[in-house]
């Protein structure tokens, strides 16, 4: 019997929403306890700041350039490499419960396997093609139960809600508006976009559903099974519509404005004007470069009270996740597995959360989106000491880490390295940088960014696009400027630093997927 793996992901969660990372709004004692007895990463970086590319990186252990999911709406091929498949072949029982998002959700043609499986109520699809020419269950998962951010649609959670609590389907915020754009409609007490009062009791909410379905699957296993369970919470991604009875946990009026929110419009505009042009253009509502933020919402209209309310609701959702994880951990302990389970907790990307006066996400490679919560609580039986790792690591490192936990050699197609267990381990293995990329092409608007995080710097180079000529960039000193408000890209005093980082950035680019896969859906 080997070590079991509980892989917990959330969606669009900021680093500073956890108590162990210095957060003081949401109470997250379960994750905090995991961090205290495990390894807490202070600079975990996604390889993409949107869902589909980032989640595909977690599964494949490859950069978006290589696995080919270069933006939301490009599906990960069914036969793409999968760490779950490796684990399944090694004898692990495998499941994914919650939000997958390797394939688009908007699927009127019913083309994508994960949507079809949900519609058909099937646990998985057998005999699917795998990356190595063999076949097996879909992406290596023998059990799949899906949910996303609401009650509409045909995923397993929506079908469960429809069958058991049909009156609740309309209680969620409508994520997309009547034209299928991300909804800009405001709600709550301050009219903030994607905020809504959800009358649903907590027990019907997707966070609890994900935890309960996870526990149910774990209960179906034999005591001596080894297992890999990806428990994927859809929150705290917008909409911010936690169950109404839970909202009172945090009074938005008591919430301080985030440190990254400049309180005057003049200050916000001054900071944004020092960044490449698309920053300010989005703030002013002149350019929407991507689908992931409401097209009809103008960030400059965000008020301090709207931001307080969003921050409070986001924190409520984080607390609900923490409590749900606590129930799963209790179920694991009750099965007698407590000493043999590795828990890895992270998210796919962050949330701007008011930084610079912005919310949601897009082609903005700063800490709000790029500094992620990442906790690895190794199985106590492994005997590893608690640690804090400050060196940059990436989500691309997760798949090889899962292999190592399972006693497998990381596959040669994996591009990351097993996560270091302390800084000296990182230094000994040359783990010193993380790469992030953004490509988007939406109705004539193209944006391309490449970023390196190394030696306390974040450096982003731009390729030519709709509003960029390829000379733009961003350079931030993370120690002196933790909020990334001073762009040093054009500062002559840092030209050698910039040159060194840019050279390393381009030298380190991964092998591209060929042929380039087409964009076939918005998200």
């Amino acid at each position: 019997m080997g070590r079991k793996i509980l892989f917990v992901t959330t969606d669009q969660q900021r680093y500073d929403t956890l108590g162990c990372n210095g957060g003081n709004i949401a109470r997250t004692p379960v994750v905090d306890a995991l961090a205290a007895s495990g390894v807490r990463y202070e600079r975990a970086v996604p390889q993409s700041v949107v869902c589909m590319p980032s989640r595909s990186t977690m599964l494949t252990g490859q950069y978006p350039t290589t696995h080919g999911v270069w933006m939301n709406g490009v599906p990960l091929p069914v036969d793409a490499p999968s760490v779950a498949a490796l684990l399944y072949r090694a004898g692990y029982r495998t499941a994914l419960v919650g939000k997958p998002h390797f394939e688009p959700f908007l699927d009127p043609f019913g083309k994508f396997t994960e949507n079809v499986l949900a519609v058909q109520g099937r646990e998985t699809a057998e005999n699917q093609p795998w990356f190595d020419g063999s076949t097996g269950p879909h992406r290596g998962f023998e059990h799949l139960e899906f949910s996303t951010h609401g009650g509409a649609g045909n995923l397993h959670y929506a079908r469960w809600l429809s069958e058991n609590h049909p009156e609740a389907i309309g209680m969620f915020y409508q994520v997309l508006d009547a034209t299928l754009e991300v909804n800009a409609a405001g709600g709550g007490e301050n009219g903030a976009p994607q905020v809504h009062v959800n009358e649903m009791p907590k027990e019907w909410y997707h966070t609890d559903w994900v935890a309960e379905r996870t526990i149910s699957w774990l209960d179906s296993l034999q005591a001596d099974d080894d297992w890999f369970c990806w428990m994927s919470f859809p929150d705290p991604h917008h909409p911010w519509d936690p169950p109404k009875d839970e909202v009172g946990r945090i009074n938005w009026r008591d919430v301080d404005l985030p440190a990254g929110y400049p309180t005057t419009s003049a200050e916000r505009e001054r900071i944004l004007d020092a960044k490449p042009r698309h920053w300010r253009k989005w703030y002013d509502g002149e350019l929407v470069s991507n689908y992931e933020a409401p097209k009809h919402w103008v960030p400059a209209t965000l008020t301090p009270d709207q931001l307080r309310e969003v921050t409070a609701l986001n924190a409520v959702e984080c607390e609900l996740i923490d409590e749900a994880l606590g129930r799963v951990m209790a179920a694991i302990a009750a099965r007698g597995w407590g000493d043999d389970v590795d828990v890895i907790f992270t998210t796919d990307h962050g949330e701007l959360g008011g930084d610079f006066g912005l919310m949601f996400k897009g082609p903005y490679h700063v800490d709000g989106l790029m500094r992620l919560p990442l906790i690895w609580r190794p199985a106590p039986s492994a005997g590893l000491d608690p640690a804090v790792v400050s060196r940059p690591v990436g989500l691309v490192d997760l798949a090889p880490t899962f292999c190592t936990i399972a006693g497998l050699a990381p596959a040669d197609w994996m591009q990351g390295k097993p996560l270091p267990v302390h800084d000296a381990d990182a230094d000994a293995r040359g783990i010193d940088k993380a790469l992030t990329e953004w490509d988007s092409e939406l109705f004539g608007v193209a944006v391309y960014l490449r970023t390196i995080t190394r030696d306390g710097w974040v450096c982003t180079a731009y390729k030519p696009g709709f509003v960029h000529d390829g000379t733009e960039g961003e350079l931030y000193n993370l120690a002196n400027d933790p909020l990334q408000q001073v762009n040093l890209w054009e500062d002559p005093a840092y030209s050698s630093t910039r040159s060194d980082l840019v050279a390393d950035l381009w030298d380190s680019q991964p092998e591209p997927h060929s042929p380039r896969m087409p964009l076939i859906a918005p998200v």
Partner: protein, 153 residues
């Protein structure tokens, strides 16, 4: 309003490819994600893999220009126009261009994004010489196999 264009070069004569593209009632035989379609006059109803029927109005079916155009007429579209052009490249190959214009713009991608797969399927059938769309229009698979191998028709 948004516009989307997908194109593919097919190693088969434009006249042969048009025999398929110009037959609106067999779209489901080369457009993945469609389960069936019916044509009554200038009204076509396509049935999506999700089970949704979608009515369309056929605007143009011009065998001289080898251009086929249709509009989706469900209310979520304020406007929709799809155009399929089969362009002769005069070397026994052709370029098939599938354009989608739609308002709301995002619908261009929701619907038009699937045209990539349709074009790939069309090429696959012609260049392999085998496929239900070819069978439906009576194209001889042996002839098309010779096209795939570099021969001429």
């Amino acid at each position: 309003m948004a516009t989307l264009r997908r194109e593919i070069r097919i190693h088969a004569p434009a006249s042969e490819v048009w025999k398929v593209v110009g037959r609106p009632e067999i779209l489901h035989l080369w457009f993945p994600g469609l389960t069936n379609c019916t044509v009554d006059g200038n009204v076509r109803i396509i049935f999506l893999g999700s089970g949704m029927p979608m009515p369309e109005e056929i605007i143009t079916n011009d065998s001289l220009q080898r251009r086929f155009q249709y509009r989706i007429t469900v209310p979520i579209f304020k406007f929709h126009l799809a155009t399929v052009d089969v362009i002769d490249l005069f070397d026994d190959t052709c370029l098939v261009v599938y354009s989608t214009e739609a308002d709301p713009g995002v619908m261009a991608l929701v619907i038009g994004g699937a045209t990539t797969g349709a074009l790939e399927e069309l090429r696959k059938q012609f260049e392999s010489g085998v496929g239900p769309a070819l069978d439906a229009v009576g194209i001889n698979s042996n002839i098309n196999s010779s096209v795939a191998a570099g021969g001429t028709v």
